[in-house]
């Protein structure tokens, strides 16, 4: 009932938004986008909440198409979660756009942007609620196309449209793979394309077909998610897109790839062997590591954030892969925990990445540059923006008690749970993935220390950074929404995990949330895995503080393995926050009133190396800060310097030396360039066939006929095959002789 109301509201407001964008005067477009977009996304979120709460999926039967069968929409808990997360990003983006788009008013057509924005909102809604392959694929394609239109919105010249074009091309390649995957699932199949019938049918697939489905769909969705090595488009697309589009791209569209992977590989054709799950796991960890390395290298804020999106998607995919492996080893509880971690990380990423993109956009708009080497000192005239950006940066660094900490902690913990698995090689791979993620987490801190410090602290490094600007209310509201959500998702994990647990329960059949959030508050003794004595030990530690104040089973996230694997992992950011505040304030007071009394504080100007005052060239740059990372991972970045000397006088005196440092992305260098070289080599070889002699061409025709007949030999008589072969041979001989 409510569901229908909200769904209709969503539809109505999105369409109204399009109409309003077309009819309202140019100046009002941004406002109408904000209002209608905001309401529509609230409705979208409400649909998601309804789906998460209800036990049965909401289904809407659309019309029936001849030869394809009935089309259907259905919103289950999995779709519900993705809808809710997307709705949050759309809501914040709509608010943000009201102010952000003012800068585009004179130079660009806001109507196009607005229409595409609502269209992509509808397309996302449709992708997430599609319950048959046709609707899914069509809406997926729509989403890709509108995504392309939005990213390429500020097209100025050939150079700036290339990345968008690359995004489109790679997305389309992925789309073809997804189509093929669906063809394999429903190939000889059920006669219609409904997910429900595909689900039934997929049980009969052989292992070849399963691997094909997995590889095709993982590639197809992985391209959209930005998994290595098919993510070259992402760091290029973000810098050319407007900031609000970047937020949607990172916060919503990348998630849809994750949705696709889960929908196909955990729901439609659940994996039967551990192999595919391990591929997911390792590709995820690899993406995370590569993403964060390049994020460390990039000094363009948006390229850096894009690479960090790749990192986060990698972490999500790693947790996802762990879940898939646990499922094939019949450990639904651990799989559930892994998926909770994946969903948690996904939610967090959408929240903080949109927040950070908003911040980058505001800085870009005010200073006209996104290069950290040219920014600096912004916290002096944008203190609120700095604080909000800091909240996002702390969360993405996974520092407790923020939300990033909870999800990354859960991910690493569930990777450690691989000790229950029987296979030793699988354990080793889990350990590798865990080590990769640990390194990633460390590098993420470096990366965002750099991002925050170089942008907001120190002194301005250029005149652009010196410009004063006000950050207006909509931007502050949108970013504040993100920052508050980061904090809430961080300190109240025991409220979030049960919701995510409902989603993973849909896929695993086991309620993993119950195993993560023990009932410390109501102390129900009937918990098989947690005997009363065990719980009361934690009571002595204070796990029941807040018992009568908060409606929750407890504030501690705790998991205890079973008899063979009695590993306990426990954490409580909810208690950590007050303790941290207490410690910090005690320290502050101690320093301020006890230690400071004994020594005198003297204020002196900043040490500028003996010069009269500090100037920007003396301070640390972003490039300098990331230098240790570049040097350590030199093998990955592999920078090459070419030197050109101009020696005019007597060949001894140099007039000029030009040094160019070139860097080719590791995937281009190792994978794509050799592939392209190989392909063009083959093409060159083949082009020798095109010499323009007629007899040869007729020989090719005959040869083709021969091969075709040979391939379909089973149905054809022998002599039918042989006769063209004879003609071919005769023709070739004639060709030689003539």
């Amino acid at each position: 009932m409510f569901f229908t109301v909200f769904a209709v509201l969503f539809l109505a407001f999105s369409v109204a938004g399009i109409v309003c964008a077309l009819l309202s005067p140019e100046r009002g477009v941004a406002l109408s986008l904000g209002c209608f977009g905001g309401v529509a996304s609230v409705a979208m979120g409400a649909v998601g909440v309804c789906a998460l709460i209800s036990d049965t999926p909401f289904e809407v039967r659309l019309w029936s198409v001849p030869t394809v069968g009935p089309l259907m929409l259905s919103v289950d808990k999995l779709s519900g979660l993705f809808l809710l997360v997307s709705a949050f990003v759309f809501l914040a983006t709509s608010i943000y756009s009201v102010e952000y788009l003012q800068a585009y008013l004179k130079h660009f057509n806001l109507r196009t942007l607005s229409v595409c924005y609502f269209a992509i909102m509808l397309a996302v809604g449709l992708v997430l609620s599609a319950a048959d392959a046709l609707t899914f694929l069509v809406s997926w394609e729509l989403m890709s196309l509108f995504g392309y239109a939005l990213v390429n919105y500020q097209k100025r010249d050939e150079q700036s449209t290339r990345p968008g074009y690359l995004m489109l091309v790679m997305g389309e390649a992925g789309f073809v793979a997804v189509v093929l995957a669906f063809l394999v699932i429903g190939g000889r199949g059920p006669g219609n394309l409904l997910f429900s019938s595909l689900r039934l049918h997929s049980a009969s697939l052989g292992w070849h077909a399963r691997w094909a489905v997995f590889l095709l769909s993982f590639f197809g969705f992985g391209v959209k998610t930005g998994l290595a090595p098919f993510n070259r488009w992402l760091p290029q697309a973000h810098p050319i897109a407007p900031a609000n589009v970047s937020a949607v791209l990172s916060g919503v569209l990348l998630n849809l790839g994750i949705y696709g992977i889960i929908r196909v590989n955990a729901d439609l054709t659940p994996l039967a062997t551990a192999g595919p799950g391990l591929v997911v796991l390792l590709v995820g960890a690899f993406s995370a590591l590569m993403g964060i390395m390049y994020a460390n290298r990039d000094n363009d804020m948006k390229a850096m954030l894009a690479n960090s999106s790749i990192e986060n998607m990698g972490i999500i995919t790693t947790a996802l892969g762990a879940g898939l492996v646990f499922m094939t080893f019949h450990q639904p509880l651990l799989a559930g925990i892994a998926w909770i971690a994946a969903f948690y990380q996904m939610t967090n990423h959408s929240v903080y990445k949109s927040l950070l993109f908003f911040g980058a956009g505001a800085i870009d708009r005010n200073s006209g540059t996104r290069l950290m080497d040219r920014l600096g000192g912004l916290s002096k005239h944008m203190p609120l923006l700095a604080a909000l950006f800091l909240a996002g940066a702390l969360s993405i660094c996974a520092l407790p008690p923020t939300n990033g900490f909870v999800s990354e902690w859960l991910t690493l913990q569930c990777l450690l749970q691989s000790s229950v698995l029987a296979s030793r090689s699988v354990k080793v791979l889990f350990a590798l993935a865990g080590a990769g993620l640990a390194l990633t987490a460390g590098l993420a801190v470096t990366c965002f220390v750099k991002a925050y410090a170089m942008t907001f602290l120190g002194i301005p490094r250029s005149n652009q950074a010196r410009q004063r600007a006000r950050v207006r209310f909509p931007i502050r509201l949108a970013m504040g929404l993100g920052a508050v959500s980061c904090l809430l998702l961080g300190v109240l994990p025991t409220y979030v995990i049960p919701i995510l647990g409902r989603v993973s329960e849909l896929l695993t059949g086991v309620n993993a949330a119950a195993a993560l959030v023990p009932p410390f508050f109501n102390g129900a003794p009937g918990h098989s895995r947690l005997p009363h004595s065990f719980l009361s030990d934690f009571h002595n530690l204070g796990a029941q503080v807040g018992q009568n104040l908060l409606p929750a089973p407890g504030l501690v996230v705790l998991h205890r393995g079973h008899a063979q694997n009695p590993v306990v992992f426990a954490m409580s950011t909810s208690y950590m926050l007050p303790v941290l505040i207490l410690l910090a304030s005690t320290l502050f007071l101690a320093v301020r009133f006890v230690l400071a009394r004994r020594s005198k504080t003297v204020r002196k100007p900043v040490w500028a190396g003996g010069l009269a005052s500090l100037f920007p060239e003396l301070t640390y740059t972003a490039t300098g800060f990331s230098s240790p990372v570049r040097v350590t991972f030199n093998a990955v970045f592999h920078p090459q310097m070419s030197e050109e000397r101009l020696e005019l006088i007597a060949g001894h005196f140099r007039n000029s030396i030009t040094r160019v440092v070139g860097e080719v992305h590791v995937f281009d260098r190792v994978l794509f360039q050799p592939l392209v070289n190989r392909a063009s080599h083959i093409a060159r070889t083949l082009s020798r066939m095109h010499h323009g002699r007629l007899n040869a061409y007729s020989a090719y025709v005959l040869g083709t006929l021969f091969v075709v007949l040979l391939l379909s030999r089973t149905q054809v008589e022998e002599h039918v095959v042989l006769s063209p072969a004879l003609i071919l041979i005769v023709a070739l001989i004639l060709d030689r002789l003539l």
Partner: protein, 251 residues
């Protein structure tokens, strides 16, 4: 790599035995002429003339060498009829004659540096010789880290300011800025004849008579350049771990 370890082990410890024992190896110090030598007037006057920096004064039948100006040019031990005795030690550091509050006794000598001291080196227009000797303190032979002395890149973390050079016009303000930027308590050590008195450069149109024109100096290390061991002695004196040169404590 492994060869490096093995050859290092085979080599053994090469670091000087100073300050536990006196270093007696050849070539570690150029030495200085004897400070006080009684002699006849005519010889004394000749010595005063022979000294290129005016380090020798002749009063009341005694030739007195001002170590703050001496550049160990050996003229007084070779190119005169009555030569001065040559002393080979290196523990020359002394408290500055009209030095800081610490030296005058107006404030008690900082005890915090006994175990460890961070040094900010400032080149106040030196010719490179003293700076080169300071640099040697970091090498394995002198290895001042074993004694808890460290060079810092910023005066913010420094305990002692080590100044080399006669302080010319262009380095005066940076030198003052570096001193200002240091947290208290702080010491100043002037190293080399130029830093002590202007040396061969000063006083002249670009330099004054050394660091004491600009900053309150605590420790002076004579020599031009002083050998690393003399600088080490200066640091130990500053840290309160060694007594200054006898008869030269300036107080």
């Amino acid at each position: 790599m492994s060869r490096w370890v093995i050859s290092g082990l085979r080599q053994g410890v090469v670091t000087t035995c100073y300050p536990t024992r006196m270093e007696t190896a050849k070539g570690t110090s150029p030495g200085l002429p004897a400070r006080l030598t009684p002699m006849a007037d005519e010889f004394g006057q000749e010595l005063v003339d022979v000294c290129p920096t005016g380090a020798i004064h002749f009063e009341r039948g005694e030739a007195r060498v001002d170590y703050g100006r001496c550049i160990h040019c050996f003229r007084c031990s070779r190119s005169a009829r009555y030569v001065l005795e040559w002393e080979s030690g290196f523990e020359w550091a002394r408290f500055a004659s009209d030095g800081s509050n610490f030296v005058k006794g107006a404030a008690s000598w900082p005890k915090a540096f006994r175990k460890s001291m961070h040094i900010r080196v400032v080149d106040a227009g030196d010719c490179g010789a003293c700076l080169n000797e300071v640099k040697q303190l970091n090498n394995p032979y002198y290895n001042m880290h074993r004694l808890g002395f460290f060079i810092t890149p910023t005066p913010r973390k420094a305990d002692i300011l080590l100044v080399v050079g006669p302080v010319n016009d262009h380095t005066r303000l940076p030198l003052q800025a570096a001193y200002d930027a240091m947290p208290t308590p702080k010491l100043v050590m002037a190293v080399g004849a130029c830093a002590l008195s202007g040396g061969v450069f000063g006083p002249s149109f670009v330099t004054g008579t050394g660091v004491k024109d600009v900053l309150p100096v605590d420790i002076e290390v004579p020599g031009s350049p002083p050998p690393p061991l003399a600088i080490l002695h200066g640091l130990l004196v500053a840290a309160g771990r060694k007594p200054p040169m006898p008869g030269q404590d300036g107080r």
